[in-house]
């Protein structure tokens, strides 16, 4: 084992030395020839595979598509993907491998916040643009020079829900959240922005990761005087159980879910109880219902059609985040007219008016996400399907 490693290393070392000489001889000339390398570390297996799987499929499919159409700047894209198994340490090691050994030009991914955070210092150190698909606002706040992200933040989801609550004249909220990273981060953000949005959180309940009954927590909320709406920050099967229990207890106040339940699976699990549930989500989920004049319609309908035709499974917003990440990079490469890392980064930061599956992206030196609240649509479950709230 070790000797293989060593031998492999020696050849690499020789290759690297040769490469240094070559680079000295004609850096500019050598650089323009090869493919543009895109490195990606995604959670294709493990706990976060529901994020990483559609992301990996999307990126691979579109890189092929772009190459078939002649590549970018006359050069092919070369995609190198590693599976971190939803483990932050593996994400870090593989990112290091992409940077040090595969010498990629740009990093995509980190499917979750946990697998993105350890990559951020590496990207900064190696001065390489990094686009994360993690949800938490902590990835782009404070802004780091080399780090961008495509998914809406949990804070935006809270704000969107609070805006909707205000339009319905509801101000007293009960919060119920799960134990996952997403749940906890969203709960914190909602508590942070509640006051500013004129919403008062009067109950704050938690449930465990594997819980199959949330009646106890919901009963407590039901018995709290003055609750006007309930918000469930959660992911996976938890929210579906909350929704069922909520109806079983005969609760009638409006129930809000987070953007984390943005897949048909939720409606299937919750059944009839899901009727009337509202949640903020990207337009991707209601692609076909968007009015014809909606500027986002073309993008999301197109992506939905291509993804579903290729993989015979329904689109999720997660694959959409990966699509946006790849297209942002392609856009930046084109406007930078080079694969130079610093120039690509500057171009990414200057992205204006990119229409993606997540919304309109307008980056700036102080905003490495570039989405505003309009990127979220308020959806309501009606007749077992998502509908846009008018």
């Amino acid at each position: 084992m070790m000797s293989t490693l060593a031998r492999y290393g020696i050849t690499r070392g020789l290759a690297a030395t040769t490469a240094v000489f070559l680079a000295c001889a004609g850096a500019a000339f050598a650089q323009g020839q090869g493919p543009i390398k895109i490195g990606s570390v995604l959670s294709i297996t493990g706990a976060a595979s529901f994020l990483g799987d559609p992301e990996a499929k999307t990126i691979e499919f579109y890189v092929e598509k772009i190459n078939a159409a002649g590549g970018v700047l006359g050069r092919k894209l070369q995609l190198i993907t590693y599976d971190d198994g939803s483990d932050a340490e593996k994400a870090r090691t593989f990112s290091k491998r992409l940077i040090e050994q595969d010498k990629v030009d740009v990093l995509l991914g980190g499917s979750s916040t946990g697998t993105s955070m350890p990559v951020m210092p590496l990207a900064a150190e190696a001065q390489i643009p990094f686009i994360s698909f993690g949800g938490a606002v902590g990835i782009i706040e404070p802004v780091q020079k080399w780090v961008f992200k495509t998914p809406h933040t949990d804070r935006m989801a809270c704000e969107k829900i609070f805006v909707d609550m205000q339009s319905r004249k509801l101000t007293r909220l009960a919060l119920i959240s799960g134990a996952g990273g997403f749940d906890k981060s969203m709960r914190t953000e909602c508590l942070n922005v509640a006051k500013k949005s004129g919403v008062e959180v009067i109950a704050d309940e938690n449930y465990g990761a594997g819980d199959t009954d949330m009646t106890a927590q919901l009963t407590k909320i039901k018995n709290t005087a003055g609750v006007q709406a309930v918000l469930n920050a959660g992911f996976g099967p938890g929210p579906a159980i909350v929704t069922r229990n909520f109806r079983q207890l005969g609760m009638t106040v409006p129930l809000y879910q987070s953007h984390g339940v943005g897949s048909k699976e939720f409606i299937k699990l919750a059944g009839a109880a899901a009727e009337g549930v509202r949640l903020p989500a990207a337009a991707l989920l209601v692609a076909k219902d968007l009015p014809a004049k909606d500027p986002q319609r073309a993008v999301v309908v197109n992506y939905t059609r291509e993804y579903e035709a290729k993989f015979k499974s329904e689109v999720s917003t997660f694959g959409g985040h990966a699509y946006d990440g790849l297209m942002l990079v392609v856009g930046a490469l084109k406007s930078a007219k080079s694969s130079d890392k610093a120039k690509v980064r500057d171009a990414l930061e200057n992205t204006k008016g990119y229409m993606g599956t997540g919304g309109v992206v307008n980056m700036s030196p102080t905003d490495h996400l570039g989405l505003d609240l309009s990127a979220f649509r308020m959806l309501e479950v009606k007749g077992g399907n998502w509908t846009l709230v008018k």
Binding site: L5, A6, G13, T45, A88, T93, I99, G114, P121
Partner: protein, 328 residues
């Protein structure tokens, strides 16, 4: 007796030192250093765990918990409260040692499946505390950790880390080999063979089991602390039950009751996934097949099986472990 042990102690140590000293020739970039450092850190945990599983014959399915406590203890004290990292690491180690001491006493009275369940439970409790106390630990998303500093000197370079971890691994192996060869070590092996028999001979089984439990927890804790500072980031995924299983697998794969087996097991299971990743979808299948093949054809683990193969006549007494398979 002395003669037999001179070879793994002196010969093995020299071989390991040579490997550590010469490996950097092949490590052409920081990625290779990164993998080598992870190998070293995992090996330290496994050398400790092997004392418990391989020599004392006590199973632990909760060592990721100690690893995690070391990592988070050091991370929280240094990053949230601004303690010097070395002091944080030592404090975390002390806490882990105390916990292992307090919990170990009742837990180690259990045997077989019950001991496995109890250690598993301990690991799960530690995981839940770490994942839930998000104010301190950052919750399931993890937390960043400051670089390791001694005074004003910051340990950042992968090369430096490599030498530090290499030296610590040598120290850990040396400690383990000495312990095994001491009266305490012989007592451990005696109670592995038969606890009743050992007690009849006047060996305080409870005390010895507790001692080795605490030592293995300390090894795990130190490696955890170092890993946190080296990675600069730590998430609860390193504290899960699955990671405990991974550690036990490394020990069993390399060969129980063989200190160098633990090192080889850690190296193999850390490096293999890095190489097999090129197989994409088939990675897990090939990895599983390799593991199965090794356990079928080398049931005693890689190192003891190979050692036997190459020296069929000489059978060092230290390698003979009746019933060692049963402990897995």
């Amino acid at each position: 007796m002395r003669q037999n042990f001179a070879s793994p102690r002196v010969g093995g140590m020299v071989a390991l030192a040579l490997v550590i000293a010469l490996l950097p020739v092949g490590l052409s970039n920081n990625y290779f250093y990164d993998v080598a450092i992870l190998v070293g850190l995992n090996a330290i945990v496994c050398v400790g765990l092997n004392l418990l599983i391989g020599y004392a014959g006590q199973i632990s399915l909760g060592h990721a918990g100690f690893y995690g406590l070391g990592a988070y203890g050091s991370a929280i004290l240094s990053s949230r409260y601004g303690w010097p990292p070395l002091l944080s690491m030592l404090s975390a180690t002390l806490v882990v040692a105390a916990l292992a001491f307090v919990v170990g006493r009742p837990i180690l009275r259990l045997k077989g499946h019950y001991l496995a369940m109890a250690t598993l439970g301990l690991g799960v409790i530690i995981f839940m505390v770490i994942a839930t106390e998000d104010k301190l630990t950052g919750g399931p998303d993890g937390m960043s950790v400051v670089a390791f500093k001694i005074g004003s000197f910051a340990l950042r370079e992968a090369q430096l880390w490599y030498w530090v971890v290499g030296a610590l691994l040598l120290a850990a192996v040396w400690l383990a080999l000495n312990l095994i060869d001491s009266p305490a070590g012989r007592a451990l092996r005696a109670l592995h063979g038969s606890e009743v028999g050992a007690e009849v001979l006047g060996i305080d089984a409870a005390r010895h089991k507790l001692m080795v439990f605490v030592i293995s927890a300390v090894f795990a804790s130190v490696a955890g602390s170092l890993n946190a500072h080296f990675s600069g980031f730590i998430t609860p995924s390193k504290v899960t039950f699955l990671h405990s299983i991974e550690l036990v697998t490394m020990v069993v794969f390399g060969g129980m009751a063989s200190t160098f087996g633990a090192v080889v097991g850690a190296a193999a299971l850390t490096v293999l996934p890095q190489f097999l990743t090129v197989l994409k979808d088939y990675e897990m299948m090939v990895f599983g097949a390799l593991m199965m093949g090794t356990m079928i054809f080398m049931p005693r683990g890689v190192v003891p099986s190979l050692a036997r193969l190459f020296a069929p006549r000489r059978r060092p007494e230290g390698e003979r472990k009746p019933g060692s398979e049963g402990a897995a």
